[in-house]
Amino acid sequence: MARYITFRVLATIPLLFAIAVLTFLISVGMESRGSIAIQICGDGATPECIADIENELGLNDPLPTRFVGWLGDVVRGDLGTSLANTDTDVTALIGERIWPTISIVAFSLLIGVTLGMGMGIVSAVRPGGPLDQSLSVIAGTVVAVPGFIIGMLLSWWLAVQWGWFDPTGYVSFGESVGGWLKSIALPGFALALPTVAIVQRQLRSSMANALQSRYVLAARARGVGRATLITRHALPNAMIPTITVIGFRAAAAIGLTVAVELVFGIRGMGELLITSIVRRDVTVLQGGMLVVGLAVALVNIVVDVSYGFLNPKVRLGS
């Protein structure tokens, strides 16, 4: 197992490299449509200013040289300075904004996966039964509702109408643990509900396959009881495709948290990315993309490792 985990961790290095290349290409793409130097110098750009900036940023060097230099900085944790606000260090900026986002995404995944798995198992036990039908209708509907709409509805009823939560804002973990939980609960749930639905649907379907398998029938013919058939025989096998889907959803949730943060006025990575696009602040956007890419790579490792735990073929095969 240790060998397998090491192998999976090493296998994400090419993934991270590919993400770095894609991120670097954004600035290349932007320059092909107009020099960044002109943007920095502002409206009254003098040729001297432009030449200075181009020299400073090394914009005239050949692309591979620039990429290696940029990548070297990135690996050392230096994401450069913001173009819109030249005295702001991007690494420090992200370090400040990342915690609300991590809190919301992690909370939503915890809630979403737990509830989704519970509902999926309940549905699979009696497919077509009243419980399964109502759960499936709920899940089928929730899947179609974007997280930010759920966020607005939750905010309206639970915060504005009933006053259980603050409608906007984020309290850091350091300030107050209770306040932190309270401030991420609504955005977390908004992001979690579609996850619940997605996990429920996938687990229901793969449990249906597992329960129709010969090995479950054979176990039943050995006198194995219902609860054991579900939890010990069917569930581990049904979890294999479900884990993959949870991984996809985690990546999607990292992207979609942007809109939910906006609803709750939380200054996290989402607001940072959107502002960087509006201000054409490419270093900040690149920094944000790299951090998201890293998060996706971590999710991949977690998925691969859980996969190895569940599937002996994968664990022993490589």
């Binding site: 997605i198 006198g223 058939l229 096998n237 809109a259 991949n300």
Partner: protein
């Protein structure tokens, strides 16, 4: 959010291939008409189609449906944020604009998003997938690795990158979404191409010199279409969702456009002050549209796919079993009397798949059940164990186990019997072992369930059992997983599991069918050895008369859900009474009639097509009008010797046989 679209249905290796009871019971129907009927018979799918149709109308002729200008508000209504009224059906926004008209015009933006993103996604994804799958090897690995990198990134983020390079607009956002979605189509297309490439008819086409492009067009693209149509619908829903999210974030459609996402973005700043209604018209339109596309995708998939309403947990009803009128055999280890099993069908009239099946096996005896596939052998075994696959149901008959009536035991009571008093050995030994659980733990399972052994004792006993079934190096094998076993070794494990609690009765359903000929012999020898040592009764189910000849003391021949002849194995081989038994023997390659190896014309008909009279009549060369009209009863000649044929006595003596065939 699009993740489950492709994955939900791709994980069914366990069920494919082996026919289920539902397949047996399904009425014949052309696949295409079934797809359409299921699709239109589904009210949700119908509603979804209507909603999408209305959207298309709103997209093409928004002026016809809209009541007001979507862009110009009434200055008098500024900041009033009206709720619905006769004049403003869905209320107004903060600028006094009519929500209903804006929602109508929003349909155009939704379809524009789908059109751009979907054509980019398919335009890139399908060719890449075809190329990659067709080329295979290293090219395929490199392309799919790059594809997976893009696939793993959040779609919103890829859209951000494209928007950053170009500039914020709905079209640019959708270019980004299209590129992201192309990875889904590439994966799907590649998977279908790879699968089709392995098909024999594609190989044949390649050998005959057809060009790659012709093969792709003629064989692969048609197989690609059904899953693609499902993906069109599901991905359209996802595109609308992401498009709205990007517009909501202010990097999609223009701030004045009547786009649903933009409207929601405006409501975001207002709803806490003026009320939740502000998000309902655009939010509702968005949700209904995504829902409609999802439901359509699901409905299309369901109408193509198989029925999954039952599984191995669904316990068949045993409440209304009519008793049998035949007496049980004295002292039998297992005795089944006139058992009927029925399956409900869509038209309400149940189909009988077992009709009056009787069998009995004495202690220490081997009973063989033989018949072609579709004759109901396996169903007989499962039903005798109370494992009739639901919605199938035993409707008549009586089952006795060692003198105890078990016909209508509850599932809980059955659990105490199965694995303890009866051991079952299945065909396809590898599929029968749980791939995620160590083999040793699976053998220990019945011991821990049915005896008071602790884990350590159960483990020791399991190692002994593996040694008894001649698995080499049993202690090491205990900690291995099923995929590390060959078919023959896996079947030994299956036997060890069945034997664990030393049951008095073993039921072996085609135990050697999936194995090599040499291994077959070893497994049969092992079964016989066990019987000699322990005096176990064995019921062995097979289509192979060779197996019967080797091991069975008594035989029951089954045809079309009925026992047609039963008796001592030697008698059946030497003096078969039923024309079907004779035909089976004649089709046996190394049987008594080596000079005239024949094939029985036709095959066992499906249960819904069983003839009214004798079920074998259409394939019987001796059939008369009596056979075609009257159901032959099972005649009991002496205990354990039975026959179901109108003419068996005439066919018995050589003289009358000549008359019969003349």
């Amino acid at each position: 959010m699009t993740a489950p679209t492709g994955t939900t249905d791709n994980d069914s290796p366990a069920t494919s291939g082996s026919e289920t009871a539902a397949d047996i019971a399904a009425p014949p129907d052309s696949p295409r008409s079934r797809v359409w009927r299921r699709l239109f018979g589904n009210p949700l799918a119908l509603l979804s189609m209507i909603w999408v149709f209305l959207l298309v109308v709103a997209w093409i002729w928004p002026e016809v449906l809209a009541t007001r200008d979507p862009l110009k508000g009434d200055p008098a209504l500024q900041d009033l944020n009206l709720t619905p009224s006769r004049e403003y059906w869905l209320g107004t926004d903060g600028l006094g604009r009519d929500y209903y008209s804006r929602v109508i015009f929003g349909a155009g933006f939704a379809f524009q998003s789908i059109a751009i993103a979907l054509s980019i996604a398919i335009g890139i994804g399908v060719p890449v997938g075809l190329f990659s799958g067709w080329k295979g090897g290293r090219v395929d690995r490199v392309i799919m690795w790059c594809n997976d990198v893009l696939f793993s990134l959040p779609i919103v983020l890829l859209a951000f990158a494209v928007i950053m390079i170009l500039e914020p607009s709905l079209v640019n956002a959708m270019i980004g979404v299209g590129i992201a979605m192309s990875t889904r189509f590439a994966r799907l297309t590649r998977a279908v191409t790879l699968a089709e490439k392995e098909e024999l008819y594609v190989d044949a086409a390649r050998i005959t010199g057809l060009s790659s492009s012709t093969i792709l067009r003629r064989y692969i693209v048609p197989n690609l279409l059904p899953p693609l149509v499902v993906q069109f619908a599901l991905i359209s829903g996802a595109i609308i969702l992401i498009g709205a999210t990007l517009s909501f974030l202010g990097v999609g459609a223009n701030l004045d456009d009547p786009d649903w996402g933009v409207m929601l973005s405006r409501s975001r700043t207002e709803f806490r002050r003026v009320g939740i209604w502000q998000i309902i018209p655009p939010g509702g339109a968005l949700v209904f549209t995504i829902l409609a596309f999802n439901l359509l995708g699901d409905a299309i998939r369901d109408s193509i796919g198989r029925d999954r309403s039952s599984n191995a947990l669904t316990v068949s009803k045993r409440s209304s079993v009519k008793p049998s009128d035949r007496a049980h055999r004295e002292g039998a280890a297992l005795s089944v009397r006139t058992m009927d099993v029925e399956f409900p069908t869509q038209d309400g009239k149940p189909v009988q798949i077992l009709s009056g099946v009787s069998l009995a096996v004495q202690p220490g005896e081997t009973l063989g059940i033989v018949g072609e596939s579709g004759s109901g052998k396996s169903m007989t075994a499962l039903s005798a164990l109370g494992l009739t696959p639901a919605p199938g149901q035993m409707t008549r008959g009586s089952v006795q186990l060692d003198g105890r009536d078990v016909t209508s035991l509850s599932e809980k009571e059955w659990q105490k019997i199965r694995g303890k008093d009866i051991g079952v050995i299945f065909q396809e030994p590898i599929a029968v072992l749980n791939p995620a659980i160590k083999v040793g733990r699976q053998i220990m399972e019945p011991l821990l369930l049915h005896t008071d052994m602790n884990k350590k004792q159960a483990r020791e006993r399991a190692i002994e059992l593996l040694a008894e079934v001649k698995v080499p190096d049993p202690a090491r094998r205990m900690d291995q997983y099923p995929h590390e076993f060959s078919g023959g070794m896996a079947q030994r494990v299956g036997i060890a599991m069945a034997l664990a609690c030393e049951p008095k009765l073993l039921i072996a359903d085609e135990p050697t069918t999936a194995l090599d000929v040499t291994v077959q012999g070893q497994i049969l020898d092992l079964l016989m050895e066990i019987q000699e040592q322990r005096g176990t009764s064995i019921v062995i189910i097979t289509h192979d008369l060779g197996v019967i000849a080797e091991v069975a003391d008594r035989v029951i021949v089954m045809y079309a859900g009925q026992g047609v002849e039963g008796g001592l194995a030697d008698d059946i081989f030497d003096r078969p009474k039923h024309p079907y038994t004779k035909a089976l023997l004649e089709s046996m390659p190394s049987g008594q009639h080596t000079d005239r190896l024949t094939v029985i014309p036709g095959m066992v008909p499906a249960p819904s097509d069983w003839p009214n009279g004798c079920r074998f009549a259409p394939r019987c060369q001796h059939a008369t009008d009596l056979c075609r009209n009257e159901v032959p009863e099972l005649e009991v000649i002496e205990a354990g010797v039975t026959i179901r044929c109108h003419h068996w006595q005439e066919l018995q003596s050589p003289a009358t046989e000549e008359v019969g065939t003349a």
